[in-house]
């Protein structure tokens, strides 16, 4: 066998051959990229130039809740009392029950991630143009021991109160998305295309648009749909005040016009979750918060512990219990 034949028999076969020139393919890719860049630039320009309307704040439940509360706070109306606070306020304070008792109130409760200082922004907006307005801060003991508030949630609130686009934090991909495609979606598409909610909230409210509409129609009250499971882990039942609470309370007070009356309510916990010392501890926490906020009185007379069957979660009452709780609250307000 000739040496050439031997080489031919062991020489590896070619795997594949590119029949395309890199310049031809590169031209295709470059043109596609240019077309994409053009679309992106158009969106970026439209957002930057302010041609598009402000953000609709309907992309997710948190944005929807915060933005709706900002609208409720800004809306002129006959309400003289505003409840501000975390999600225990959002869910436990049933405005229709208060209205039945002749109390003109609005629920501006949002989420604990916002922090007490941010609740003050909503309270201040409510007080503008409402002489004699009264603010009730409703917080769950859980909220008092949380660490730093969420910057993103605060940005949503500020942008909703100012009806402006939220400041864009971070860089890279997120910033690119926010300034182009996400920006277009939150400003335009979210106004026309309903955004579905997930899980229990989805089952109850369906879409963010429906959640917003429901919050407006109920004066800001939202319903809890979960059923409390006492056996499930619920975190520590020992409540305390985080260090950040004092400056936040002071900032809250400083945001309010002089002479605005403020009260503080600490939300109840399920009986199976409450330690023996719970009422004493929480009453003391409430007093501290009231002092820093310069509240007129602490609403210590409101229930601090309620039966497990009244709860959906550790922080949220079921709708029927929220009505009962709000009935008690109405009587306390009318007594004063």
């Amino acid at each position: 066998m000739a040496a050439d034949d031997l080489n031919a028999s062991v020489a590896p076969q070619e795997g594949h051959r590119y029949l395309l020139k890199s310049s031809g393919f590169g031209r295709h890719l470059a043109a596609t990229a240019a077309s994409f860049a053009l679309v992106t630039a158009l969106l970026w320009g439209a957002i930057r130039s302010g041609v598009l309307p402000g953000e609709a704040h309907l992309a997710d439940p948190d944005s929807t809740i915060i933005a709706t509360k900002a609208r409720l706070a800004s809306r002129p109306g006959g309400e003289s009392i505003a409840f501000v606070g975390d999600s225990s306020c959002l869910i436990n304070i049933d405005i229709p029950t208060l209205r039945q008792q002749g109390i003109a109130a609005v629920n501006l409760g949002t989420l604990s991630y916002l922090g007490i200082d941010s609740f003050g922004l909503l309270a201040r907006r409510f007080c503008e143009g409402r002489p004699g307005a009264e603010i009730v801060l409703v917080v769950h003991p859980e909220c008092l021991r949380l660490t730093e508030p969420s910057v993103e949630h605060r940005a949503i609130l500020e942008s909703a109160l100012e009806s402006q686009g939220a400041p864009i934090s971070g860089g890279g991909w997120n910033r690119f998305q926010r300034e182009t495609f996400d920006g277009f979606r939150t400003r335009m598409l979210d106004r026309w295309i309903p955004t579905p909610l997930r899980g229990r909230m989805g089952e109850r409210y369906g879409f963010t648009q429906d959640l917003g509409a429901s919050l407006v129609s109920t004066g800001g009250t939202m319903e809890e749909t979960a059923v409390f499971d006492a056996a499930a882990p619920h975190g520590s039942a020992e409540y305390r005040l985080a260090r950040r609470i004092r400056p936040e309370c002071e900032a809250f007070r400083s945001r309010l016009p002089d002479g605005v009356r403020v009260r503080v309510i600490i939300s109840p916990v399920p009986s199976s979750h409450a330690l023996k010392s719970h009422e004493a501890t929480v009453t003391q926490l409430g007093r501290e918060v009231s002092r820093w906020i310069q509240a007129d009185e602490s609403a210590g007379a409101m229930p601090l512990v309620m039966p497990d069957s009244d709860f959906g979660t550790v922080t949220h009452l079921l709708p029927s219990a929220a009505r009962t709780y709000s009935g008690i609250l109405a009587r306390k307000i009318l007594e004063k």
Binding site: P12, Q13, E14, G15, H16, R17, Y18, L19, L20, K21, G24, F25, R27, H28, A31, T32, A33, A34, S35, F36, A37, L38, V39, T40, F181, D182, F184, R185, I193, P194, P196, L197, R198, G199, G202, E203, R204, Y205, G206, F207, Q209, D210, S214
Partner: protein, 466 residues
């Protein structure tokens, strides 16, 4: 690692660069495909790589023995071993829990109570797909439709080719394996086609299917869903599963094209079908063909009289239903389609069909209705839920968010219809004729849609669970 993730994009970029580097050596090419496919598969759960190698290795050996022997009984014996290995593996990992639970439940009906064994068997990704592809190889060797592959690397490169490993298209060895045996010639047309398919596939998955997914979840996960929401939810799921699976198949074909390979088409705008038979010629074509060639025809096909033909159709589709998952809902879904196809066949052959003309839109609507009822069972978690939802569609009023749901689903269904109408009007044969500028402009627009919907969380493909 799933196609619609940043990890996969990086993976594929690296593979493409390495693929260019190994172009001069076939063995290196096969080795690269094999290693990258193993890496791709191992990214789900590396433990199942052993199973893939074991079952694939048994098939490789069986096919070799079948090919080496001229004795019918010997060939038959090795074929049976290959079938038992594949079906046994599939049966254990996918159906063991289902059959045991069903048997225990059946015994309890007769008052015989025993402990329910708590089987915790993880389902290897893509097992239904690769076992069927491996089976087609030994069956085709047995039938002398293809020469046996003696190079184990080439064989495993064919079996584990990553674009189609976990969710098909289920390729015939006679179609795909020969492509590994000769040098691939990668033309500009093929790469352009691949890019076009990849972009459309991502549009179908990321833009359409992922938009419809939470809408379908809302209807199927809600205790409040009733009235028209059930119907709309079923439509949403029909659009979701189509966008999801057809999108995946297009991406797989596109990826293979950029590497110089061809994969079979899996979908041809099935929702434009005017009868159920046409639907199955357009829906998951490679699975339909597999069941036709390896089950329906061996059962006798349509050669043993009408009654037997109807029975063969029903058996084939019921088993095709069960192939999708170990649940009575899938079995019932397959049964529904089998019965519908049998009825359609009877109708076509009856004198009635010649005297009673059914307008095309009516045929289309009837087809969609049958397919829609099927999707209700396919998506439900149990037969109880499926029948409960059918009941709720008539008896329970819709939820308060029904109006928003109608708008949202209408937008989703319109996207499916527009996407299909476009692909039907402009198949690649026409798009390939466009000027490169026109195509690039359109591709840029598709890319913009994809980027706009590209999320941090990459929702998986529905068919990965099968």
């Amino acid at each position: 690692m799933i196609f619609n993730s940043n990890t996969f994009l990086i993976f594929f970029l690296v593979v493409t660069l390495l693929y260019w580097l190994v172009r001069r050596n076939e063995r290196h090419r096969d080795a690269l495909i094999l290693v990258s496919s193993f890496y791709f598969y191992g990214s789900w759960d590396w433990r199942f790589l052993g199973l893939l190698v074991l079952t694939g290795g048994i098939d490789f050996l069986c096919a070799k023995k079948i090919s080496d022997s001229t004795e019918k009984t010997v060939r038959h014996r090795w074929l049976v071993l290959s079938i038992c290995s594949n079906i046994g593996t599939l049966g254990f990992f996918k159906y063991a829990g289902f059959f045991i639970d069903s048997a225990v439940a059946a015994l309890e009906q007769f008052g015989i109570h025993g402990p329910r064994p708590a089987l915790q068997i993880l389902l290897p990704a893509g097992i239904s797909f690769y076992t069927f592809q491996a089976l087609s190889y030994t069956l085709d060797v047995y039938r002398n439709h293809i020469t046996v592959e003696r190079n184990v690397f080439k064989y495993f490169a064919f079996l584990t080719f990553f674009p189609q490993l976990v969710a098909g298209p289920i390729e015939r060895a006679s179609f795909l394996l020969p492509q590994f045996r000769e040098p691939r010639k990668i033309s500009l047309e093929q790469v352009s086609r691949g890019v076009w398919f990849i972009l459309w596939g991502f549009v179908m998955k990321v833009v359409i299917a992922d938009y419809l997914a939470p809408l379908a979840d809302l209807a199927f996960g809600s205790q409040q869903a009733g009235g028209a929401v059930i119907l709309l939810g079923t439509l949403a799921f029909g659009g979701q599963i189509y966008g999801d699976f057809a999108g995946y198949s297009l991406i797989a074909r596109g990826l293979a094209n950029t590497m110089g390979f061809e994969l079979s088409p899996n979908f041809s705008q099935p929702y434009f079908s005017n009868n159920i038979q046409e639907f199955w010629r357009r829906w998951h074509q490679t699975l339909s063909a597999w069941f036709r060639d390896y089950l329906y025809i061996p059962l006798g096909g349509d050669r043993r009289g009408d009654a037997r033909t109807y029975l063969n159709i029903i058996i084939t589709f019921t088993l095709a239903g069960l192939w999708h998952g170990a649940n009575w809902t899938f079995l019932f879904w397959g049964l529904c389609h089998g019965v519908s196809l049998a009825v359609f066949r009877w109708w076509r052959q009856s004198p009635l069909s010649r005297s009673l003309w059914i307008p095309v839109p009516v045929g289309w609507l009837m087809t969609l209705s049958v397919v829609g009822v099927g999707w209700l069972f396919f998506r439900a978690t149990s037969l109880k839920q499926a029948f409960g939802m059918m009941d709720a569609a008539w008896t329970r009023p819709g939820p308060s968010w029904g109006h928003s749901y109608l708008i949202a689903v209408t937008i989703g269904v319109a996207m499916v219809a527009l996407s299909d109408a476009f692909q039907r009007r402009f198949p690649w044969d026409r798009v390939g004729q466009w000027s490169w500028k026109r195509r690039a402009m359109f591709q840029g627009l598709l890319l913009a849609f994809i980027v706009a919907r590209w999320g941090k969380e990459a929702p998986s493909f529905i068919y990965f669970q099968f």
